[in-house]
Symmetry: C2
Subunit: 135 residues, 2 copies
């Protein structure tokens, strides 16, 4: 079974058997999103060449784009110095990674100071979420 | 107290009172490292304009660069759509973020397939760690 492969043992899985994953766009280097993987998700990602995460809320494998069509073609996989964080370099279908219809999930920018600060949405919605998630 | 500021309440802190943080280099957009913050760390980061993390191993605030000199000047702070991940855009002192003396912590690249895969260090050491951490 590939989920017992040696390279998967090098990853330091947390107490829930998960590792944090950052998805970064090839070319722009924009950080698109952050999610989690278990062993099977990472193995499937390598096998498919497309990002497969572990959905902590739904408690199941989540092939990114399975509903929205916004799949992530994986160009490169990196592991950090502590071997407990994964970085994916991906080609993002439609350049929309966020469920709000935005390019990146990191669209809220901090403005102000430590007392008066607020988070302001500064990136445009590229596609109406209602038209992304049609049943 | 600024750690009670309203903007800090918008962040969804996990069961340990922490939020995952991605540090990205301004300009290159390279992902440098991944760490954690608690309320105080995020508040201090805003106040100082330099990255202050929460060290889970040492269980204390960690002003990045306090020993190495490799501080991170914060240009921008972003929050994701679920409000549970922070992205910092930083200017990295000496362009060295990793304790191994490399530019980025994500220097290990996956090569091979799901059965034969391995992680290969593909980025150069820019500075000998022994000369970074001198007492």
């Amino acid at each position: 079974m590939s989920i017992k492969a040696k390279w998967l043992n090098k990853v330091k899985w947390d107490e829930h058997g998960l590792v944090p994953v950052i998805a970064q766009e090839v070319g722009s280097n924009d950080v698109l999103m952050f999610a989690w993987m278990n062993r099977e998700a990472l193995s499937r990602t390598v096998e498919l060449g497309e990002a497969v995460y572990w959905s902590r809320s739904r408690k199941k494998l989540w092939h990114k784009g399975e509903e929205s069509g916004h799949i992530q073609k994986v160009h490169e996989i990196r592991l950090d110095c502590d071997e407990d964080v994964v970085l994916l370099k991906v080609e993002q279908a439609d350049r929309i990674a966020c469920h709000t219809g935005r390019h990146s999930c990191f669209f809220q920018k901090f403005e102000g100071d430590k007392d008066t600060g607020e988070w302001v949405a500064v990136e445009p919605v590229l596609k109406d979420p209602d038209s992304i998630y049609t049943k």
